[in-house]
Symmetry: C2
Subunit: 211 residues, 2 copies
């Protein structure tokens, strides 16, 4: 039940200690964890921008409805989706499967054909929605990753993707900012830290169907 204690410790940090920095090793674990996130078909239509630059973070505050934690945090994680998931992107995935697993091309051919047809015919909005859902899987994984390592975090949907794109040059990298997550250490006077966690009772959110 150690994990349950860790997840209970986690809360959406509203004020970070702007003097305490995460170590390079902690950032490394987060990056590796992000890269191991499960995604639909294993396609990984995501990138993670890791901002550790207070001046840039301050610029992002203005595009985050003034939420100061973006400026205070040791780092700001910006989970981005790929703007283009096209035939080349899918082909690239299958090339990687062939390389890593040595799978013969003829074994992969039916699935490759199926995915290519699927992704080439899908409207761009559907693809963006599909990709953005994968960003939420990454968020769920990263929140837990941080809690386990006693790293404070604040998951955020409320920000201006256009503003983030401008400050971080995301469009030129083919990315759209989808979720934001400042990480670091809670300030000793963050009043949110002391508040009891509010949750629907387990009996209300779990339905057991047993044979």
């Amino acid at each position: 039940m150690e994990l349950i204690e860790q997840l209970s410790w986690r809360y959406a940090t509203k004020k970070f200690d702007d003097q305490r920095l995460l170590s390079a090793e902690q950032i490394e674990v987060i990056q590796q964890s992000f890269g191991l996130t499960a995604t639909s078909y294993g396609l990984q239509p995501l990138k993670l921008v890791v901002v550790q630059d207070k001046a840039i973070q301050e610029q992002l505050v203005a595009h985050s409805f003034g939420q100061k934690q973006v400026g205070q945090a040791s780092a700001v994680l910006v989970i981005c989706v790929e703007q283009v998931v096209d035939a080349a992107f899918v082909e690239n995935y299958f090339d990687r499967v062939q390389q890593v697993r040595n799978t013969p091309a003829e074994v992969l051919a039916p699935f490759r054909k199926h995915l290519l047809e699927n992704f080439v015919t899908k409207p761009k909005e559907d693809l963006q929605l599909w990709a953005s859902k994968q960003a939420y899987i990454a968020l769920g994984n990263l929140l837990t990753t941080c809690a386990i390592h006693r790293i404070d975090s604040c998951p955020m949907e409320g920000f201006s993707p256009q503003g983030y794109d401008e400050v971080l040059g995301l469009t030129s990298r083919g990315l759209t900012a989808t979720l934001v997550m400042p990480i670091g250490y809670r300030a000793s006077d963050d009043f949110m830290a002391s508040l009891a966690k509010v949750r629907r009772p387990i009996s209300e959110v779990i339905i057991e169907i047993k044979g």
Copy 2:
């Protein structure tokens, strides 16, 4: 780096050992972890159906494009969204905040008003989309929760929500099945278990912006 080893161990299990069952304690950890998942505004528009009934699981296989792991697994987790997130649902949340934290009603009033206006005016499709994204956070959390506890899992978007609704009686509970995740132990002959993990290189999916 223990977590990285655990996440690397995880894979989308295609064949489960149908003789090995998870313990009540393992199921308990998963339920608690689900209940602690972060969600937008803390509203938790989700429920988790935990199916441990092979006869019912067999019925679900037909609604999962024939994917046998749903029948073999020790349990099938069905992450569901609430079909109705209305004023009463939001009020219920604020009542809980008041109870748990003893927050005076006047302190909560502005946020309460804001959320109520937000949720009452939003079209039903927007609310369902918002809720379904939260289901993906839960999936990300549960996949990591399982990996840490050496529980095998298979995240699935491919199934018939209508079929699941029929078999599990979800509509009468006000729920829509959104994501499915059979869990248990990998079969010793699951050929997927031995395959190397295919991932875009970390250098390709991480962008560092440092001051």
